[in-house]
Amino acid sequence: MYAQMVDTGAKRLRTSEEMSPEERAFQERIDADIKIEPKDWMPEAYRKTLIRQISQHAHSEIVGMLPEGNWITRAPTLKRKAILMAKVQDEAGHGLYLYAAAETLGVSRDELIADLHSGKAKYSSIFNYPTLTWADIGAIGWLVDGAAIMNQIPLCRCSHGPYSRAMIRVCKEESFHQRQGFDIMMTLCRGTLEQKAMAQDALNRWWWPSLMMFGPPDADSVHSAQSAQWKIKILSNDELRQRFVDQTVPQADYLGIKVPDPLLKWNDERGHYDTSPIDFEELYNVVKGNGPCNRDRLRTRVKAWEEGAWVRDAALAHAEKRAARSARKAA
């Protein structure tokens, strides 16, 4: 998802007897659905895992602005341009809510950003794919934001107070993102043959990467059990992926474009769609840094950070000078 394959440091779940009294009390609070707040005691592994998960989520929001920002100057109409700017600005906001939530866990903003820039911290694999045509902006809103909503709604109930509150704010804003994407797809699909072909091409390229966003299959997700016990992961990767497929296929049918999976079929017995097996080698490869745009995305982020340094420094120097001046006046 926006946070994929988050390491919890756990090889297996510990029993209640193996826990220290503090840890046991902590787990009991979580089991009773009591939120963990910044000043509360928490196990070191919980804190570290959450920093990893929330910062990965924040980085995804921020890096996620790049593929869409690519089309702001080339949006087909002024209306589409204004909408896309508002959407991208929301994503910046999401990144900021999430960084602030991570900072309550005792890590600084600069450390978080340094970890992104050094490649130590990850962001979602999906943002390492290029946006080649305007239809990709439709497909991202429809599929990528759609997948994000699927993942973020259950996280509103997660055990960490600041993270859950950030998710509630984010979820309130996301449905506009998904709808504006579907609206772009609808317009293209009702347009000329070429426009409809563009929509189909975008679906072809974004479908599998969107399914990979949910992370590795449950059988290979070693850290899920610990995250589930801590209630920082509510539904499993495969469950979320299945929900996404079930919800999206009828939408593609409505648009009159075809999901690029020859084995896709409704399974009456299961009450779900069956899909072809997913090529997770591609996911692992993109996460490792070898996707089509990994290097470009990081280079762009680092450049923006470095070229903005003088602005950050100047603003701080200005604030200090003014504070000193008003202190002198008061004296």
Partner: protein, 93 residues
């Protein structure tokens, strides 16, 4: 270089309601904190007024003090109107 300080943001969503904590953000000074809060927390008309307070200036009670601080109220049930049962015939009480 040093980081911009952290600010806690409080928004009054409507006239007549109290300001409510909505989150935090970094800014070099209070003026910029208000401008940033406008962009981060009120993109959809969420507010009619913004307060910003430097996070470092907030003093919070610690979770460890929860019992001595809040326990005394538990035994004072007579502070709630429901402590006093009233006869059904008596109105307006």
């Amino acid at each position: 270089m040093t980081e911009w300080p952290l600010w806690e943001i409080f928004i009054r969503s409507q006239h007549g309601l109290a300001h409510k904590h909505v989150g935090s953000l970094h800014a070099p000074d209070s003026e910029m904190a208000i401008k940033n809060a406008r962009d981060v927390y009120t993109r959809r008309n969420e507010g009619v007024s913004i307060w910003v307070v430097k996070s470092a200036d907030v003093t919070a009670s610690s979770p460890g003090e929860k019992e001595p601080l809040f326990e005394p109220a538990n035994s004072k049930v007579y502070r709630h109107p429901t402590f006093f049962p009233m006869p059904d015939e008596v109105k307006h009480l």
